[in-house]
Amino acid sequence: MTLLYNLILLASIVFAVTFSLTYLLTLTLVKTLPKRGSVVEDYHKPERPKVAWPGGPAILSSIVIVEAILYLIYGDLKILSITLVTIIAGIIGLIDDRWRLKNGMIKPLLLILASLPILLLETYVPYPEFPIFGYVRLTMVYPLLVLLAVPIVSNATNMIDVLNGALSGFIVIATIPLVFALMLKGDYIMMVATLPLIASSIAFYFFHRYPSKIFPGDSGSLALGAMFCSIAIVGRVEIVAIVSILPAILNSFFILSSIKGFIEHRSIKTRPTILLPDGQLVASKDPSAPTTLVRMILADGPLSEREVVSNIFKLSAFSAFLAVITALVTWCV
């Protein structure tokens, strides 16, 4: 009973501290970035308002501060791995925000660096647990999969960051099954280490939701994606994570297969959606336009930006539900 009480207390403190830090830092950025001219146009509104950008440093610094404290308390290398992966991906995102990496291949290649802490600190176990038939030995292939996973997941979260609040809301929904799976496994330290991802995303969502006051930029989206992926690997909840993040994975898969290769999304000439004068979005009928999740949602007719984001959240919730079933089948059946 005391253990449970301590766990709930610790989880509440971690959540509250991360939430407060992200909220205050984002609020500061919302006020200071426009004064420094660090703004971008919101393309999905007729008046094209200028929005503060990037908000990634607020997300990154609050997560890193809390994870570093957790590492000092527990001394668990898995927490250090998560922290380092998030820092490296966030820095790569900051470089992209600052200097705009033109070549579509550079970012995924750089993100391989973010996978290295997991391999160097040996915080992975090459025996992923599958539903129904249990552990699978992947001693040779698993390190290679780790190298690929961080770039793939980070880019997938980066590609879903297209509308107001979509990324931050999506990360919150997709991370809940990870917390549930870690609870089922009884890995409470990892469960607590996952909470900063949810707390930071919720706090950021208050500013990122429609109409956005700030955009996360690549520093935010890559850091969040990389952290999600590192939790999945070191927490050994890989399959649950894959299912939970399916909308983002399918979105990037559909984009890459329709444009046939790695191209920086800013350099795609044909836009997948068209903004109508009344502010509604409609899917492009141009066959050369990339197939995105948003374009597929809009295929049945125009919707407001808010409605599209709401539909993305519904799809994410459905995936999260499937991920929870996957966790139950893996650890309870």
Binding site: F130, P131, I132, F133, V136, I239, I242, V243, L246, P247, L250, F253, F254, S257, S258, A283, K285, T291, L293, M296, I297, A299, D300, G301, N311, K314, L315, F318, S319, L322, T326
Partner: protein, 80 residues
């Protein structure tokens, strides 16, 4: 429930089912499958090669199914 996202939920549901089915096919059937006797290096190599090829084919089938579903969805909803 919004009817426009039901087909997309179907695609996600199918992708999930294929993850289950595909992983069972690979780790439950293909990995233990050893048609050649493991008494020689060449046969051990052939067994491993066959497992890799069969798994790769299965992964390719998953990709083709997903692309076809996407094309079908786009054709049905956007070609008009």
């Amino acid at each position: 429930m919004n009817s426009r996202i039901l087909p997309l939920m179907g695609i996600i549901g199918l992708a999930w089912a294929l993850v289950f089915f595909g992983s069972y096919m690979i780790f439950g059937l293909i990995v233990p499958f050893e048609p050649f006797p493991e008494n020689d290096h060449i046969f051990t190599f052939l067994n491993s090669l066959l497992k890799v090829v069969l798994s790769a084919i299965l992964a390719l089938v998953w990709i083709v199914i997903m692309i076809e579903l996407r094309n079908l969805y786009i054709k049905r909803n956007l070609s008009a």
